[in-house]
Amino acid sequence: MKPLRGIAAFAVLLMAGSLIYLYAWLPFAWARSRKVVESRIKIAARTGSDVRRVLLVRENLKVTSHFERLYPIDPTVHMYKGVSLALVGRNSDAITSFRRAIHYEPRPEIFINLGLSQLAVGDRSGAVESLATAVRFDVNRAHWIDDRAIRTEVLRKAADER
């Protein structure tokens, strides 16, 4: 019986190690990576150089794609991936990422990003729906919408649905 118990104990250790990696190490690692991803997004958004923007976004996508597979429950993983994709004009892919973020934790800022990406691909009705959802939650978010006509339509829709 003793060898069996030893094998069982070893199996327990292996399982504990795997769980510690998945449930403790990955969230910790994302919390660190997130700061770097955020600062790259800020730089990429401000830079006038297309090449620099693409390089920064490529680095961000490497990081977010890694965590998307292993630690998908954090909505910021998908949100930052979506924002990075939108910065280089890949708005269709950004929409997919924003929808994944909303699946895990809907937030007004994610709906705003989703709406802006939908506008960029020409889906006006979808964009108004997403932006109105954000504005219904918090009317102060409307100032994020630059287009005056869209903003008016969104405010009207949000007020109607209240």
């Binding site: 769980l19 997130r34 700061k35 600062s39 937030r107 918090d138 102060n140 209240r162």
Partner: protein
């Protein structure tokens, strides 16, 4: 004739093998890390330096405890470590129900993280409960270091004497309001977290003044003063009220004179704090003004919306709840639905704009996420903590060991304090306070239970 004070009842270590000693030493180390080190861990390289690192560390330490307890049961069979006492039954029930709520959750993958946290914390509780009797009064002192460090760091941050944690990189990516909150957060992340964290050590200091050796009392008095000032400085009215109620509970169980003295002392301390502790004065003044104006939502820091959402989710999912850790995911749409029905919930204010990740009332959060059976288990846990005090004070004799006297004096006040704290705060969602409460529950259960149980 006065009986000689007996030695504290630390049993001799019953180790009949090096392996058992090694495993138990590792368990003790993990428990100590969760109580002493975890609350002061800060990750300066993270976007959020405080809570994320602590949550990750709590899961790691908890899983480590769980693994060691499992290994102990597999390879060491010769002692009573695994007798099916109330503590083990409670742990099995809590983990079991959380697992069921995870399976039935709206998003089991999200809930699995909470399940792992619950299992880990239960393991810390069990390890503490099993090992505490080997160590007499020493474990109680473990509550001090992290609490005193956080108090000191918080006060010097709040006074803007020094802000030791915020790096330039973090400051560059934050807006002014979040930067201010991070600057005045001790090592925990938020002034409210500070208040929630200091409650139990401050009460423990009172218990140690009463029950520990007379030559150590000055240390406990100094610790009590430091922690009480930190509690007042934290602006956490819920924690201050919880402390007051617990203190009155302790005093009332002793004698009417003690209760009267406690009331007078509390009133004097609060009046002095109002005069000299600026954060407490400003918070109390704002709350009183809001109450006078009938702005009750402002009195509870604009939390009617998450409270109402927690109630609505409990009503809609009374048996299994929405799933552990799922409140943040369900809050958005549920809250908008409630504001449509009850527009007064849509009161504007800074906190209103927040997408609440927690209910800010653990009673409602537990019932919303794990259903009414989960909430009943939560109440049973509080009752288990309180049970250690159910021998009347008169039955505590000088022949009782100090740890047993501490547990019998303080178990009920701790339970009352936690019951009140969880009404307006969320200590069960914060790694540092959760580990601390599991530890205290383990200590009180170890010493407060009858010897024959």
């Amino acid at each position: 004739m006065i009986s000689r004070q007996p030695a504290d009842e630390a049993r001799p270590l019953p180790y009949d093998s090096n392996l058992k000693r090694f495993v138990d030493s590792l368990l003790a180390l993990l428990v100590i890390l969760s109580v002493v080190v975890l609350p002061v861990v800060v990750d300066l390289e993270a976007a959020e330096p405080y809570r994320a690192a602590k949550s990750a560390l709590l899961r790691g330490l908890g899983l480590g405890c769980f693994a060691l307890l499992s290994i102990r049961s597999l390879i060491i069979r010769s002692d009573n470590f695994w007798k099916l006492d109330p503590a083990l039954r409670l742990s099995i029930a809590v983990i079991g129900w959380t697992a069921i709520a995870t399976i039935t959750s709206g998003n089991p993958r999200v809930s699995s993280y909470s399940l792992v946290t619950v299992a880990g914390v239960a393991a810390i509780f069990l390890a503490t409960q099993r090992l505490a009797r080997f160590y007499s009064m020493a474990p109680f002192y473990l509550l001090y270091p992290a609490a005193v460090i956080n108090t000191v760091v918080y006060v010097i941050q709040e006074r803007q004497i020094w802000t030791p944690v915020i790096s330039e990189g973090t400051a560059a990516v934050l807006d002014a309001e979040n930067l201010r909150l991070l600057r005045e957060a001790g090592l925990l992340g938020n002034p409210n977290d500070i208040g929630s964290f200091l409650l139990v050590p401050a009460l423990a200091a009172i218990g140690l003044v009463i029950t520990d050796q007379p030559r150590r009392r000055p240390i406990h008095v100094i610790a009590l003063l430091v922690l009480f000032v930190g509690l007042l400085w934290s602006r956490n009215l819920t924690a201050i009220i919880s402390f007051s109620v617990a203190l009155l509970t302790l005093a009332a169980r002793r004698s009417r004179t003690a209760a009267t003295a406690a009331v007078v002392t509390l009133v004097v301390c609060l009046l002095l704090a109002f005069q000299f502790v600026t954060p407490f004065r400003s918070k109390a003044t704002d709350s009183i003004a809001a109450a006078r104006a009938g702005a009750w939502n402002k009195v509870v820091s604009v939390r009617f919306a998450p409270f109402a959402t927690g109630l609505a989710l409990t009503r809609d999912n009374p048996v299994f709840g929405i799933g552990p850790g799922r409140f943040a995911g369900d809050y958005f749409f549920e809250k908008m639905e409630l504001v449509r029905k009850f527009p007064w919930l849509g009161e504007t204010g800074e906190a209103f704009k927040a997408s609440f990740v927690e209910v800010h009332c653990d009673h409602l959060e537990v019932s919303a996420e794990t259903g009414l059976p989960g909430y009943i288990l939560f109440l049973v846990t509080l009752f288990t903590l309180a049970k250690g005090s159910f021998s009347p004070p008169s039955s505590i004799t000088v022949d009782d060991s100090r740890p047993r006297r501490f547990a019998r004096e303080m178990s009920l006040p701790f339970a009352v304090a936690l019951a009140f704290l969880t009404l307006g705060q969320f200590p069960l969602q914060l790694a540092a306070t959760l580990a601390q409460h599991a530890f205290v529950l383990g200590l009180c259960n170890a010493w407060g239970a009858d010897e024959t149980a």
